[in-house]
């Protein structure tokens, strides 16, 4: 592409689909377009800081974070977790990466007529165990039932509140050129585990989701006085989406080294077979941390002492905004690492 070529984002927002399609839920470009065009346009609050995983609000001098997430995972039970533990950890993690100590969750259940109560028991036990592990309490909730065929077994929404300690903040706007980009472990496990369970794909070893509560790991970083500028958990859309979102919001560039990103052999093998890119596959126990350059080594030390950061590593640096938000050093040079567009589609031949 010639140097004078136009930027890679489309200047005309073409509304391709008059109806919602599955890809709108995939965490990539299409989903962001929908959120911006439909929700942000109407709900945007000029007093609020630019979008991050939770809303950080202030009331009477106290800062708290508030977030919500809905869980529609299928199958309900998968290697490494279930919809219940996911509903707890997912929301806890959204609070944690906003700098908050998670405290309370609500849990709303939409049950499909015919769901075995036994299943509901299993999910609830799992949620309680997860809440205890994450140090939060589920304090309120709601239950609705819809007719058979109108809801896929069970959907859960959790909303969460946490307190943001004095002096702590995690915001894309704080990210600066020179910052180190850290990743707490290998990527791609959750998406592959779900896909394998859903499609009945059997690999030689069972790949388990990396689902885990990250609040404690984050707290360790702040408690150690590390100069953390921003955190983000890498969920739908994978590491690539998280980096692109931060870079775009921060108006900065990020350059990463493909060789530095840990991926388990099993996950890599599954991705090769299915034609997927591990950088776009969902995670549920991974976060990227942007720290001041001088604190990178100490941050790694702190993370590696924690079970969920044992494989923590520096994967790149923040730069001035370049040809694209995220660049990646790879075989043969440097290329652009884009967000997903829609769903990842497996190969045909």
């Amino acid at each position: 592409m010639s140097p004078e070529a136009p930027p890679f984002t489309c200047p005309l927002p073409v509304q391709q689909y008059a109806n919602v399609v599955l890809a709108h839920g995939a965490g990539g470009n299409l989903m962001h377009r929908l959120i911006d065009d439909v929700f942000v346009k109407v709900f945007a609050n000029p007093d609020q800081e630019a979008e991050h995983d939770s809303a950080v609000l202030e009331c009477d001098g106290v800062r708290f974070a508030f977030t919500t997430d809905s869980y529609v995972v299928h199958p309900l039970f998968f290697p490494g977790g279930d919809i219940g533990s996911l509903a707890v950890y997912g929301t806890v993690n959204d609070l944690a990466v906003s700098g908050a100590r998670p405290l309370y969750l609500s849990a709303g259940f939409i049950l499909e007529e015919g769901l075995p109560v036994e299943t509901l028991h299993r999910v609830t036990q799992s949620m309680q165990a997860a809440a205890q592990r994450a140090g939060v309490t589920i304090v309120t909730g709601d239950t609705k039932v819809v007719e058979r065929g109108k809801g896929d077994g069970l959907f859960i929404n959790t909303a969460g509140i946490g307190m943001v300690p004095e002096g702590v903040s995690s915001l894309p706007a704080q990210v600066r050129p020179g910052d180190a980009v850290l990743l707490n472990g290998d990527v791609g496990r959750h998406g592959i585990a779900i896909m394998a369970a859903r499609e009945g794909l059997a690999f030689e070893t069972t790949i388990e989701s990396d689902l885990a509560p990250l609040a404690d790991l984050v707290a360790q970083l702040f408690d150690a006085g590390i100069e953390v500028h921003c955190l983000r958990d890498c969920t739908r859309g994978g590491l690539a989406s998280a980096l692109n979102e931060i870079a775009a919001t921060a108006g900065a560039g990020i350059t990463i080294d493909e060789k530095a990103i840990p991926v388990l052999e099993d996950v890599r093998g599954a991705c090769e077979l299915l034609g997927l890119d591990p950088l776009h596959v969902a995670n549920e126990g991974r976060l990227v941390t942007f720290v001041a350059p001088g604190d990178a080594d100490r941050a790694l030390e702190v993370m590696r002492r924690h079970p969920l950061g044992a494989d923590a590593t520096v994967i790149g640096t923040v730069t001035e905004r370049a040809a694209a938000p995220v660049l990646m050093k790879t075989f043969g040079g440097i290329r652009i690492l884009d967000m997903l567009s829609g769903d990842q589609l497996p190969r045909i031949c």
């Binding site: 592409m1 010639s2 140097p3 070529a5 136009p6 890679f8 489309c10 200047p11 005309l12 073409v14 391709q16 689909y17 109806n19 919602v20 399609v21 599955l22 890809a23 470009n29 299409l30 377009r33 499609e199 794909l201 052999e265 890599r268 093998g269 090769e272 034609g275 370049a322 040809a323 694209a324 660049l327 790879t330 075989f331 043969g332 040079g333 440097i334 290329r335 652009i336 884009d338 567009s341 829609g342 769903d343 589609l345 497996p346 190969r347 045909i348 031949c349």
Partner: protein
């Protein structure tokens, strides 16, 4: 990972690149046929490693890209019928037909299911006797054998509610169409490794002889492609025009007899319309007479249906190697993976998608 990592070693890649530069004395234009090879080239920056004298032309080897727009419209028509379940490989789901794609049909209530194997569709038909299960059989000679096996299995098991919407295309006639075209600049071929794993190399002997060009049957990893190009340039520099096999670990000259026997039993060679290129005689496969009862077009009354394609999208020129994706005025602006104007921007093997996804920056 075996068979992957060793073929992606960047030090070896650079050695190959230097070896190619050493033997290249003049400009050469080489076409890699298969979309998987195009993706590897763009993803791993092979074109950047090669000396400037070597021009790579991207060929039509993406079966999703060349599936006629009528067939996509037919698939959508079938998907929207309440009694039908349309099973497809994932790639086809976002390819635009004349009005919409299968993904939009699914959102409108069509039962569209992504499968990894046509045998899954046969199994589904067995499990859902009250529905008509249709498999969208897209692909080159690589996927034809397993699709043939699925039809044969359905016949053996008496599964009558199964049918196939056949969109198979054959590589050699398309290559000949390109090589005999007025704008042809191709001087050597990097031939598709997996197609030849099935079909063997005999069809390419005829091409090498008739058109006087080197043909190197090549694999899909970066080192495979570099080695294939090295072998091709060596021939070009010596004025040779023969078939060689780089992808020896996958390809035998006689191909896979069992696979070919299945294909010959279930399919017959026909003229087929390639999207963006036009009708190519002998360019496709259709069900043979003995299996025509499994043909979805007949079963759903969709045989007579044709569509004039919009002239806006330049996929056809990209597929024939006449222009590169970035030379298309819509590339990256009006045409991106989110709102593609044609199949080459959607398909995982499409040249436009490869260029968009792996686009490079000139940096240090």
């Amino acid at each position: 990972m075996r068979f992957v990592d060793e073929y992606r070693d960047d030090m070896h890649a650079e050695r190959f690149a230097r070896a190619i530069a050493r033997i290249t004395t003049r400009p050469w234009s080489i076409m890699e046929v298969c979309g998987g090879q195009t993706h590897a080239i763009v993803r791993f920056g092979i074109d950047q490693l090669l000396p400037d004298e070597i021009t790579l032309i991207h060929g039509p080897g993406c079966p999703v890209c060349v599936t006629a727009v009528e067939l996509i419209d037919k698939a959508i028509d079938i998907a929207l019928r309440p009694e039908a379940i349309l099973c497809s490989f994932g790639d086809m789901v976002r390819v635009p037909g004349s009005a919409k794609d299968l993904q939009a049909a699914k959102a409108a209530g069509g039962d569209v299911r992504i499968v990894y194997s046509p045998l899954d569709a046969v199994r589904l038909a067995g499990e859902e006797p009250d529905r008509q299960v249709v498999f969208f059989a897209v692909g080159f000679e690589t996927t034809a054998p397993v699709n043939a096996a699925a039809v044969a299995q359905a016949a053996r098991r008496g599964i009558e509610n199964f049918s196939v919407l056949v969109a198979h295309v054959r590589i050699p006639p398309a290559i000949e169409a390109i090589l005999s075209g007025p704008d042809n600049r191709v001087e050597a071929l990097v031939a598709p490794g997996h197609v030849c794993a099935v079909m063997g190399t005999s069809e390419y002997e005829a091409i090498a002889t008739q058109y006087g060009i080197p043909v190197v049957v090549t694999g899909f990893e970066p080192l495979d492609i570099l080695e294939g190009i090295h072998m091709g340039v060596t021939q070009l520099e010596h004025g040779e025009a023969k078939v060689e096999t780089q992808y020896a670990r996958g390809v035998k000259p006689q191909g896979n007899a069992t696979a070919m026997a299945l294909m010959n039993e279930v399919f017959t060679v026909v003229t087929r319309k390639w999207r963006g290129i036009g009708a190519i005689p002998y360019g496709g496969l259709a069900l043979a007479d003995a299996y025509v009862g499994f043909d979805a077009e007949r079963r759903f009354g969709l045989v007579d249906y044709s569509v004039t394609e919009s002239t806006e999208c330049l996929s056809g020129q990209v597929l024939q190697g006449i222009i590169k994706p970035e030379e298309c005025p819509m590339f990256g602006g009006r045409c991106t993976p989110e709102h593609p104007l044609g199949a080459t921007m959607v398909s995982a093997e499409g040249a436009c998608a490869a260029y968009y996804r792996y686009r490079r920056v000139s940096a240090g």
